[in-house]
Symmetry: C3
Subunit: 421 residues, 3 copies
């Protein structure tokens, strides 16, 4: 029989007909749904709870509110009971509606294996999947789960904010402030669309290349060390763990870039300028001839960009949990690596086509600074060059062997390996 201690008596009338002592006595499994502040009330029931399984489902309002985890505190109060921490990561929603639409995973921990087993059986019956996280000392970790707010997104978001701020102020200076200072023109209205549409793609391209840079660095590390069985430095490990987040932010910015670009022809400013150019052609009575190179260049630029964005979207879709779960490991790495580098190549090439031969003209280097698109081309170009180096037949062969477990060993390592043979 179960017994449930809820914080509010009048909601659970069953408990009113039985004294707390009788309830505690008769149940073998007790769900403690009381706020931590009221745990001391349970202490009075300690004799009746002796040998019982106490399921602690409590959560705190913020991290590190108390020196010890709620479940550990409960265990200390009633040393004779078997405290199991469970269900706290589930929302009330999931508990009420069953696991069909919400997270199925139930994490539990506790010091007594039988007690954990009893809770696991109930969870499975309710349709949840159980994951045992070990002894009660893991309770703190479990209690921190529902309080997490995108911990793995923090580093990529900070990087994004930093890069965005840098490009914004850099381009603001070069475009708006330069025009104001040198030509006395107020073109501040360009901030909303033109400037934003330069900042978004620049940051997006850099973030995308930062997804692939750690893989390239790891390759060089492995080549240099001659083994894959040495841990990477911590910064590289942490970097590799946030590649997915970097890629998704890059995709979001690329989508905004696409949207902002497609809005261009309905902008008042653009329509005004186009009409002005037509009017001036008529007034001066000379029409500019059609430039086939220009047509080729701009069409290629748009076409490559559209294909690159298509691949970008494909990468994003394949990183949806339900899609990536349906892929085999080889399929996932094909998409994320092969198609990923193709995306990076398309987007970098798109940016080079945008620049075209403009890097030759001195007028482009206002106040001796390079245009924004040049700055954002540095990292992706480096990544692509390094990747090409790794793809050279001789290098690729060594790296493949290392990744299959081969080691470039010194004499003392060989002796150890001979143990195996």
């Amino acid at each position: 029989m179960f017994c449930v201690f809820f914080p509010h008596m009048r909601l659970h009338k069953c408990l009113l007909v039985m004294s707390h002592e009788a309830a505690a006595q008769s149940a073998s499994l007790v769900f403690v749904c009381v706020h931590r502040e009221h745990y001391d009330f349970l202490e009075t029931l300690a004799p009746q709870l002796n040998g019982k399984v106490l399921v602690d489902v409590s959560n705190n309002l913020e991290k590190n509110m108390y020196p010890e985890a709620n479940a550990e505190y409960l265990q200390r109060l009633i040393p004779g009971a078997h405290v199991v921490k469970a269900f706290n990561t589930l929302s009330a929603w999931a508990l009420q509606n069953g696991p069909s639409d919400a997270n199925r995973q139930v994490y539990l921990c506790g010091n007594n294996p039988e007690a954990k087993q009893a809770v696991a059986v109930i969870s499975t019956k309710l349709g949840f999947t159980v994951q045992d996280r070990g002894s009660l000392s893991a309770a703190r970790e479990l209690e921190d789960f529902p309080l997490q707010l995108f911990p793995e997104w923090r580093l990529p978001m900070r990087l994004t904010v930093g890069l965005t701020a840098f490009f914004f102020f850099y381009l603001l200076t070069r475009d708006v402030i330069y025009a104001y200072v040198n030509e006395g023109k107020d073109i501040s209205f360009r901030i909303m669309m033109s400037l934003a549409n330069k900042v978004f793609p620049s940051v997006s391209l850099i973030l995308l290349s930062l997804c692939y840079l750690p893989g390239v660095i790891a390759g060089f590390f492995q080549l240099y060390r001659g083994t894959k069985y040495k841990r990477f430095p911590d910064w590289l490990d942490r970097w590799m763990l946030c590649r997915k987040q970097l890629g998704l932010i890059a995709l979001a910015l690329a989508s905004l870039h696409v949207l902002y670009t497609l809005i261009i022809p309905i902008r008042y400013y653009v329509r005004f300028r186009l009409a002005g150019s037509t009017i001036s052609q008529i007034k001066n009575n000379k029409t500019s001839p059609f430039d086939t190179t220009m047509a080729w260049r701009t069409d290629s630029y748009y076409s490559i960009g559209a294909l690159g964005f298509g691949l970008y979207l494909l990468l994003g879709i394949s990183s949806l949990p339900s899609v990536s779960n349906a892929l085999s490991w080889r399929e996932f790495s094909f998409i994320q690596s092969k198609l990923g580098y193709l995306t990076l190549f398309f987007c970098t090439f798109h940016t080079y086509l945008y620049g075209w031969d403009r890097f030759l003209y001195v007028s482009q280097y206002k106040w001796y600074t390079p245009p924004g698109y040049m700055l954002c081309l540095v990292v992706p170009s480096l990544v692509l060059v390094f990747k090409l180096l790794l793809l050279l037949p001789c290098v690729d062969k060594s790296l493949s062997r290392i990744r299959q477990g081969w080691e470039r060993t010194g004499p003392e390592k060989d002796s150890k390996k001979s143990l195996l043979a």
Copy 2:
């Protein structure tokens, strides 16, 4: 040993070598894959089926075809057997290919716990997740599952159709019919694009605000009652349960609005008008000067709209089951609440920028009716104002305390609470 009764003998030769009686005798678990109309044939085997587990997998062609559920009817025919309703919600596809690509969930119900356990063991072995729905009286509910056609989408869809029809006829009257009656011009071609592109965003914005209105109302209810432990009225509960659907329809309409807007510059009508404006400027030999305020206003309008749509998409992606399952409760509510209100604010602001100072001009109120964008601003503006009220420090503090379980209690409630202490 299993035995399976299929509707067509010649497909299952194993059954032809054995008499029905022998088959029923030798198996401990019998899958009944016969149409309900043929159940009476099983009655003749009742003695052999005594004490056996009968798994009823049948479905009906429509709801309420029969007075009792198929499984209950089977149980009545063969009272000695243990009927378990199961597997009927799975498609033939899932049964043939295993649960890797399709729904893993198997619902079962029955009166005999051991019989249910036996079926549960088989389901688990086949890779499915089992959810026990209780006694055989739940069979009707299980038999209705495969016949469901988006029950939770019905209310939001009706609302959408109603709002769309209203805005369509309202705008048709104000735009097309007004122009025909007052100016004798036939601009009915505008129905396909211009009118649609006014209806979609109006309905979308209202639906989005209707996602957030029940939350605000619930807040005021809780403040007024001083407790969170009282049930909301039924209409509010039902409204809150279809917020996700409201939001997704709003997103679909917003996407159409974006698509229709981006198509604008390739429309024949728009190109004709732009060329006409250029030609008339030349003929009259006066060019309109560049209007910086206009540039600021329109660019802000587009930019805010694009950002709002980006956030909208983010909300949509995070409501995909596999994505929302990967989020902690706090993360999910951060996205759906904080980012949701930001989206609503952006989209409302976008609409205000569209209106700008036009509400000042009498010519806008054709036939004394306000333009469509004004009508659709009412609900979102109210929601944002109410939300701001709830965010006032003093109100927010009370509400937070109530949501953490605090109650503004009268004397008789206090006495009950003292039982806990």
Copy 3:
């Protein structure tokens, strides 16, 4: 107790303190994480491994590297052990981080039920879902899983490449080469955008109609045979199995078509032509009048296209694993069938509107070939006509009865059916 044999001793110090023999002796479950080339080393431990459960987690670098599966080879080397193939389909990532973010499915096979049960228990404890694939002879299949590279996408991809190549060269000849040969104009720059934007929608529409053609063919087969209990020919079965992939590729091409279409107004070529048309109107001092039919036609064309693409996207979203899992069978077939045919109708109608009355003009049949859009209309039109035939009341009634299990039987079949009654 577990024992794990890893390829590198120095990484697993626990094993250094114990001889291999002692380790093998003391464990009841041995994880073999050694490359296949080193399996012979285990042969020396055969006596100690007698009666033990050996879990083979190995994978090969490519298919068909060895005549027998790794697990079967291991079983042959140590006949006294109970070899279970398992965990090889999981990535190192999933094993390290638990199943929360990656594929939960563990496939296992083996000849000894108790051994499999022991491995299943461990897998479940680790939070994985177990699927038993039968005896050890299934090991080869399991070892091929991680080496699979989109096997079900191969046929649709080949079809797509073939159709794309055909339409590309067909349109290249008719557009670019024709203009060069007959008029001496070089319009090769149109390859990047204009031509691509004709190839994508053509192939997309054909692929979409190929999704629905097999269903129509199957309907006629069932009508002709008078039963649903006869297997379809192999080619039809294989075709039906790749409908999802056909549809998703069609959606990808349709998205590119939308993107390429929306880019049109920012193209240099288009802006040049529009300015040129305005200039020539002024120079010739005659403005073309507004054509209401043209406005209706083009706006309908864009509007239908946008709605069709919206439905297309809906189909795509509903085929995401996590979304389709949340749908009942009836809901899924409503979307994929009813909405699918609506999408096909919208997209076909969109293409007819594009063509309009142009099929009447001889000038359209350059070099006596029909334009590309006519070619791509053949299959979808056929599918829609056939579907309409199947929807005729009398035909629909027969087909519904057949699909509910009714059979048009000859006398010898009737006698068999009477067995049931």
